[in-house]
């Protein structure tokens, strides 16, 4: 870990100003990812602006009938908030599927969106990685790519986004509220917040320098009764996903009015399974239809030497998550 200047911000605008003024500066909230990366010498900020105590922790009903979640509310408080457990159980479940009790007590919601990939080549500074060091090559492309992407990758980067929470937020059509150094706010639809790697794998998201996440808003929906977050991993708990699926169904009897499906562990961003959603709209909630929907999504997947299994696993995970959602297992 390189030397850095530490300061504690008093408000969001001054924090954004401090970070905008120094391109080597970074925000510090829960610290669970950035300190890890700094110890590995992957992140090398010369300045950390501690925003963890800013008044951005509120969780409350939003004007549009949805919910507004403070960027600096802790994962634990978010997952356990009565409004979220009652109305957005998919989000609670996804958060609780991630990390450990200790980490969820530390990690902020905004920080969860800012998590960087767990790609082992990204984490090891002795290895090539275009995300960490643009132009050095992608170590995973022809390397050990068991954990890597099957959707939306480029030959510059095949890393996946590690979050569980974000998979649920993608399915829930969340909106990310941000503020810049001038105090100017903007709202970024969740699908536009994270990026695919393309030719710029170093950029995980579409934030401008110095922009600070202030809140995450989820519009109202009718999915609470039928939703499920399924996580498949190499051990029972405390492991990143091989594949995960957030599924929510709005139904009329056995008829699907609309389906929301997002996947984790398969792409550089939480992957919205739009092909599967399209297939299901207006159809009966049957296993046969779930299988067809999964096939529709997975036919576009492209795997590598060590992650071929993710295509079949993804297919099965979609089917199982939909059937769990239909059976109200959240």
């Amino acid at each position: 870990m390189r030397p850095f200047k530490y300061s504690r911000a008093t408000d969001a605008v001054s924090a954004a100003k401090a970070v905008a003024a120094n391109k080597e500066a970074a925000f510090l909230a829960g610290g669970t990812n950035i300190l890890d990366l700094m110890k590995e010498d992957v992140a090398r900020p010369s300045e950390l602006v501690d925003i963890s105590r800013l008044a951005l922790m509120q969780i409350r009903n939003a004007k549009n009938g949805g919910i507004s979640i403070g960027a600096l509310a802790k994962n634990t408080d978010t997952a356990n908030h009565p409004l979220i457990r009652q109305n957005y159980p998919l989000l609670s479940q996804a958060i609780l599927a991630g990390a450990s009790g200790q980490i969820r007590n530390m990690a902020s919601n905004g920080g969860n969106l800012m998590q960087r990939t767990r790609c082992q080549y990204f984490y090891d500074v002795a290895m090539p990685c275009n995300k960490r060091e643009p132009g050095s090559g992608c170590g995973a492309l022809e390397g050990i790519n068991r954990m890597h992407a099957i959707f939306g990758w480029s030959d510059k980067c095949i890393a996946v986004h590690p979050s569980d929470m974000c998979v649920a937020l993608a399915a829930l059509d969340a909106v990310v509220k941000v503020q810049d150094a001038a105090g100017k706010e903007r709202a970024i639809p969740f699908a536009d917040f994270h990026r695919l790697p393309g030719d710029l794998p170093q950029a995980d998201n579409t934030l401008n320098p110095g922009e600070i996440i202030t809140a995450i808003e989820i519009p109202p929906n009718k999915l609470a009764a039928r939703s499920y977050y399924l996580k498949v991993r190499d051990r029972a708990s405390y492991a990143f996903a091989l594949v995960s699926v957030a599924a929510g169904l709005e139904t009329d009897g056995n008829k699907i009015k609309s389906a929301r499906i997002a996947m984790g562990g398969v792409a550089h961003k939480p992957w919205r399974a739009t092909e599967a959603e399209k297939y299901l709209a207006g159809k009966d909630a049957t296993d046969a239809n779930f299988v067809e929907a999964a096939n529709a999504e997975m036919k576009n997947a492209r795997s590598f030497e060590h992650n071929k299994f993710k295509i079949e696993l993804g297919r099965r995970a979609i089917v199982r998550a939909l059937s769990m959602a239909m059976n109200n297992k959240a």
Binding site: M1, P3, F4, K5, Y6, R8, L28, G30, G31, T32, L35, D36, K39, E40, L48, D50, S52, T76, A79, N80, P82, R85, Q86, P89, S92, Q93, L96, A97, A99, S100, G101, Q102, I103, N105, M106, A224, K231, A236, S237, Y238, K329, A330
Partner: protein, 267 residues
């Protein structure tokens, strides 16, 4: 080390501790936490051995510095002043901004009970309780703890009495090598409160239910303790200890001896 912080929590030695210090004058050099522990050890009877061992270890650690030793100029880069309450005592420190809470506890305050198992938030050995919640001290900068209340394994016992979780870990053999144990116990103590708060876990089947105090199943405890790795494999015993403290019901040992009725088992 001692001049790096002010200690506003003036301590009184108990009669037990006084007696121990008479027997083992070398213990006088020990830190606050260890002296307190010694008091417990003496009053608990089973600790005579522990006291002797600790006394030996203390003597072992007495090293005279090399006369030619070179010290680099103390340069606190990016120094940050931080003050926090640790196990009830106010501590004020000036630290390199890079110092984690774990390293501050271990290297600056002599509270070596919290362990460095991975230093990357992947094992839980460094778990401490900050503001009533379990957190990983390896991924917390000391600077972030300004004004916070920190409880470490050294601060769990109430005077001469072990925390019930500590006693249950001994009773159920909830450890082997003991290295993950301080983190396991801090985690388990905080978990009890989380259950009272009605917090859910990934294996809860009632997410939509309003949070209310719950009696945790074995799988609930296992899932909630999964952030604390134990390589010796003490998990079933850790579960038994937590379960007993959580429910108040005694858990019997599960092993059995078997001797074949007819014929000798041996050649």
């Amino acid at each position: 080390m001692a001049d790096e912080f002010e200690d506003s929590g003036a301590e009184q030695l108990t009669a037990d501790e006084e007696a121990l210090l008479t027997d083992f004058p070398e213990l006088g050099e020990l830190g606050e936490a260890r002296r307190r522990f010694l008091g417990q050890a003496a009053s608990l009877g089973l600790g005579a051995f522990a006291v002797h061992l600790l006394a030996q270890e203390q003597i072992l650690a007495e090293v005279k510095p090399d006369a030619n030793a070179v010290f680099a100029p103390a340069a606190e880069e990016n120094a940050v002043a931080v003050s926090m309450k640790i196990n009830g005592a106010q501590k004020s420190l000036t630290l390199d901004s890079r110092v984690t809470l774990l390293d501050a506890l271990r290297e600056k305050l002599g509270l070596t009970g919290s362990k460095k198992g991975c230093d990357h938030g992947q094992c839980g050995a460094c778990t401490v309780i900050v503001g009533g919640r379990r957190v990983l001290s390896c991924l917390t900068l000391a600077a972030q703890c300004e004004g916070q209340e920190v409880t470490t394994i050294e601060g769990l016992a109430n005077g001469d009495t072990l925390h019930p979780m500590q006693a249950a870990f001994i009773k159920h053999d909830g450890f082997q090598c003991g290295y993950c144990t301080p983190g396991q116990i801090c985690s388990a103590v905080a978990l009890l409160q989380e259950a009272k708060n009605g917090e859910a876990s990934y294996v809860s089947d009632n997410i939509r239910q309003k949070p209310r105090a719950t009696k945790l199943s074995d799988d609930e405890i296992r899932e909630r303790m999964s952030g604390n790795l134990c390589r010796c494999g003490a998990y079933p015993n850790i579960l038994a200890a937590i379960r007993e403290v959580h429910t108040g019901e005694e858990r019997a040992a599960t092993w059995e001896f078997y001797r074949e009725e007819k014929g000798d088992a041996t050649v």
